[in-house]
């Protein structure tokens, strides 16, 4: 018999999983009901792009949230959220490759080289790729906790590239991309502060054993 809390977490994870599929389900439903507006490809591109960024920020939000709320089991949702970021990011990329460029690779290469917002977007996706591939428990074991964690800090750069991608593609009115940028800034600032606090505490070497585990991540 599983303990009650384990059962609850599993149920929550299943619900969360279904919820994360919501944006895609809605998009597909709209597609079949002619509700994607005058420029469906544009809507698909923007929807998948926006959710990639949201899932990246949600993933990055787990650590601060579980520390501040003292709910350690929240960590169980991080991998799922991260993989959904990769999932929506891949849909976003596929929309570009298929529906926008129709697999015209020379044109895409030209785009990547010439248009900085495309360069930034592709960078954001490429940085997620190794994280998605090494997201399994097997890979954590194989790489070792420390190295795995180091590798997975690439998400900071991926999220930053995603925000820059958004900023660079907007013609005017930067409110939306800058809002995402500000949230990312807060999430990264939390880590810098946590790191600085940890550093300070270890230097003064007061109660290392007590402070250590709370801020090691």
């Amino acid at each position: 018999m599983l303990p009650l809390r384990e059962k609850l977490v599993r149920v929550l994870k299943l619900l969360g999983f279904l919820l994360c599929l919501g944006p895609l389900t809605l998009l597909v439903w709209k597609g079949f009901h002619d509700r994607l507006g005058a420029n469906p490809v544009d809507v698909i591109t923007r929807t998948t792009g926006r959710w990639t960024l949201i899932f990246l920020l949600l993933t990055l939000g787990i650590t601060p949230l579980r520390k501040l709320s003292q709910l350690p089991w929240l960590i169980r949702f991080r991998r799922m959220l991260g993989l959904f970021a990769f999932f929506y990011g891949s849909l976003h990329l596929m929309t570009y490759v298929w529906l926008d460029k129709f697999f015209d690779f020379p044109t895409m290469l030209h785009d990547i080289a010439k248009r900085r917002f495309i360069t930034a977007g592709l960078t954001a996706w490429a940085l997620m790729l190794p994280l998605a591939l090494t997201s399994t428990s097997g890979w954590i074991r194989r790489l070792g906790g420390k190295r795995w964690q180091k590798l997975h800090r690439l998400i900071y750069f991926s999220a930053a590239a995603a925000v820059i991608h958004f900023i660079w593609l907007v013609k005017a009115d930067l409110r939306q991309p800058l809002t995402y940028g500000a949230i990312l800034g807060i999430l990264l600032a939390y880590r810098v502060i946590a790191w600085a606090v940890a550093k300070l505490r270890s230097k003064t070497s007061v109660a290392v054993a007590r402070a250590g585990p709370a801020i090691s991540e």
Binding site: G31, L36, G37, A38, N39, P40, V41, D42, I44, L99, F102, T107, H110, D111, K114, R115, F117, L169, K171, A172, D173
Partner: protein
């Protein structure tokens, strides 16, 4: 040529003829118009007390040889997907936000290097020349396009009213500044009011029209009512909406998007598949309404209007003058 001819004829002789023609058309078309208004009100549920409200059928529209034969984009797509930054930077939002935009009273001031500066009322402008249907390709700088059945007449008809002087080389246009009605004008999304400009010969070109209607109806607010330009060989943002001022000047006037990003939006902004925009390839375009899996169309030089307008730019380096 057009300018010279107009200067020979006093404006007092020009005005009555179209007005006269229009009056006749109005009488013959009165019944139909009445029925159309009723139908329009019934269908759209608008409070159209005013006969000029969007949705009112326009009578006596002549066909034009300048119209293209491609399938026009649906009324729904034309009125639900466009850039109108005064209302929103989202292309789906202006339709709702512009619904209550007031297009009466409305006067257009024609000033600058002219013999007769004028303030002309929109209802006078509506009757200034016979209305024509011009089915034009419309190419947005963002890489999408439509085929739009505009209703209007050559802009030159309006410009000639003020009798521009010989040293007027450019025409500057200005959109209304009405932050109480246009929510984005309260914020500095762009520099307001929106300003655009054309070279004199471009402004006087028979393809350049003053748009007053769409699909045989009074121009919907979302598309720039009560009057806008359509300059079909240029990217869409050159076709300024909701015009209140037209000024003849000697030097190239500043334009809004050029002020915003000079390396992205040139003064001319002629549709040109060989000159890439820093953000978008201009080689192809997505035709709105063709569906998710439709392939893009190759973009044509001068949006396919090269036969009529290429000569305006002979000898010019269109890479430099993009």
């Amino acid at each position: 040529m057009l300018i010279k001819k107009s200067n020979d004829i006093p404006s007092s002789e020009i005005t009555p003829k179209p007005a006269f023609l229009n009056r006749r058309k109005f009488i013959t078309g009165a019944a139909a118009t009445g029925a159309a208004i009723a139908a329009g009100l019934y269908l759209r549920g608008m409070d159209g007390n005013e006969a000029e409200a969007a949705g009112t059928k326009l009578a006596g529209i002549a066909k034009s040889p300048f119209s293209v034969t491609e399938q026009p984009t649906s009324f729904k797509d034309i009125t639900n997907y466009n850039n109108y930054y005064e209302f929103s930077t989202d292309k789906y939002e202006p339709n709702g936000l512009a619904a209550n935009f007031r297009t009466r009273p409305w006067t257009v001031s024609i000033e600058g290097l002219v013999r007769k500066p004028k303030k002309i009322d929109i209802d006078t402008i509506m009757k200034l020349a016979p209305l024509e249907e011009r089915i034009y390709r419309h190419r947005c700088v963002e890489g999408w396009s439509m085929v739009i059945p505009w209703v209007g007449y050559p802009l030159s008809n309006l410009l000639k009213q003020a009798e521009p002087l010989g040293h007027a080389k450019f025409v500057a246009f200005e959109t209304i500044f009405a932050p109480d009605q246009m929510p984005n004008q309260k914020r500095d999304v762009l520099q307001w009011p929106y300003i655009e400009g054309l070279r004199m010969d471009e402004a006087m070109h028979p393809l350049t029209i003053l748009v007053l209607g769409l699909y045989d109806e009074v121009l919907p607010n979302v598309d720039g009512a009560p009057l806008r330009l359509a300059v079909p060989w240029k990217y869409g943002f050159k076709s300024i909406k909701a015009i209140v001022k037209i000024k003849f000047v000697e030097n190239m006037p500043p334009t809004t998007w050029n002020i915003m990003a000079a390396d992205e939006y040139g003064f001319y902004s002629n549709v040109n598949p060989t000159v890439d925009h820093p953000r978008w390839s201009q080689a192809t375009e997505r035709r709105i309404g063709e569906g998710i899996f439709a392939h893009k169309h190759p973009t044509l030089m001068f949006n396919g209007y090269g036969d009529q307008v290429a000569s305006l730019y002979s000898g010019m380096d269109l890479r430099k003058n993009f």
